[in-house]
Amino acid sequence: MQIKVKELVGENAMTKADGEKVYSLIHDPLIEGQTVELDFEGVEVFASPFFNAGVGRLYADLQSDALNAGLKINHLSSFGQRVLHRVLDNAKEYYLASPAHRQAIDRIVQDTAAAM
């Protein structure tokens, strides 16, 4: 299955809404073990909300091995790659944390406030 991202969202892949369009198309096929190609040819501008909503959240249901095997990213600009890597590092850290650790992450700001 190939998705031409430009046909789906245009030249600018930046918003959460556009990311959700991508996610809704690729999530179930990836769960079923299909191979999905995201072709970014012609997409020029990237921002983190798009990748957070479109790709980063896949870690909720899929492990790195399955994603590396099933999701192919092609023709993504250097900047797009950097944004995607950063978003994925954050998503991986979030989803790989134990529930208790996640709660601890969320509590950090509360502890900071209590200490003031």
Partner: protein, 294 residues
């Protein structure tokens, strides 16, 4: 009801100028609903783009509250008028003005998140006037970075009147400036709501700027990273980013990050970015990362 006379002073972009802007907002806020507000420019001999974006938003805020903003155009000095003709703000003030030209970058108002229109503005009007020798690749990267400011304003501010921006090119310092204002709840308020406890403005700003932190945890996936990428871009490329938000202040430049409490504040956020227009300085993400994405 007696109209409120709002005396607009000289407005640059230093801390004391921000205090003056916040003081203007406080007067409008104290005037309450349905206030008639006269903007008097008799004492104003200088207006930076941050002030233009702020005053434009303030006028819309007055309208949103059922009031009537009125710009006393007869009090505006010619040099200020010329600047406001150039950036198009004169139209907002009700003055028929010739088309935009010069070093100004148009004032604009965005009531909703229209990414294509804003990217076009950034690439064509902000970067694309020929004052920076920008390749298409660099323009796309800078537009993506600046978009993070807009998307934060739209997503987190809950501003009922949208987002206001203005810019300018400074030939002598060879700098490009973009100012973005909203009149929403401000970053510290969002962090406090997220924490459920009081927290100082500077600590709230520090938390919001940390990698991966976001106040939008109600959505079922991790967020953040936009401000982290922007910080990195600003630091590497000798830029300068300042954010005044409610009672918190953040500054990022090549020297690092500074967070402070603000004694004088307004409900909203004012962001200002300065970029040096020397493309030899820019370090792009040309290095392809060889590691797998996942």
């Amino acid at each position: 009801m007696m109209p409120l006379k709002l005396c607009i002073p000289r407005l640059n972009d230093k801390r004391q100028d921000f205090n003056k802007l916040a003081h203007l907002w406080q007067q409008v806020d104290a005037a309450g609903e349905k206030a008639h507000v006269h903007f008097d420019f008799s004492n104003c001999d200088f207006l930076r783009p941050n002030a233009v974006a702020f005053l434009g938003g303030l006028a819309r805020l007055i309208e949103y509250r059922g009031g009537l903003p009125q710009f006393e155009t007869g009090t505006i000095r010619q040099e200020i008028k010329t600047n406001l003709y150039q950036n198009g703000f004169a139209n907002v003030m009700g003055i028929d003005s010739p088309s935009w030209d010069g070093n100004s970058i148009p004032y604009r108002e965005d009531s909703h998140e229209d990414q294509n229109s804003i990217v076009h503005y950034l690439k064509s009007n902000w970067l694309g006037k020929g004052w920076i020798n920008v390749t298409p690749t660099l323009a796309n990267e800078i537009a993506g970075q600046m978009w993070e400011i807009y998307t934060n304003a739209f997503e987190h501010s809950q501003s009922a009147i949208g987002v206001f921006s203005c810019g300018q090119y400074f030939p002598k310092s060879h700098e490009l400036l973009l100012a973005v204002a909203d009149f929403g709840v401000g970053i510290p308020s969002n962090v406090r709501h997220h924490a459920g406890k009081p927290i100082h403005g500077k600590e709230a700003m520090r938390w919001a700027f940390a990698p991966g932190n976001t106040t939008a945890r109600e959505l079922p996936f991790p967020r953040g990273m936009g401000l982290d990428l922007l910080k990195e871009f600003i630091r590497i490329n000798h830029g300068h980013l300042e954010i005044y938000s409610k009672d918190g202040y953040a500054r990022v430049d090549s020297n690092g990050e500074v967070y402070e409490n603000l004694a004088t504040f307004f409900d909203g956020t004012l962001v200002q970015v300065r970029l040096v227009c020397d493309d030899t300085l820019y370090l792009l993400s040309n290095e392809q990362e060889s590691s797998p994405f996942f």
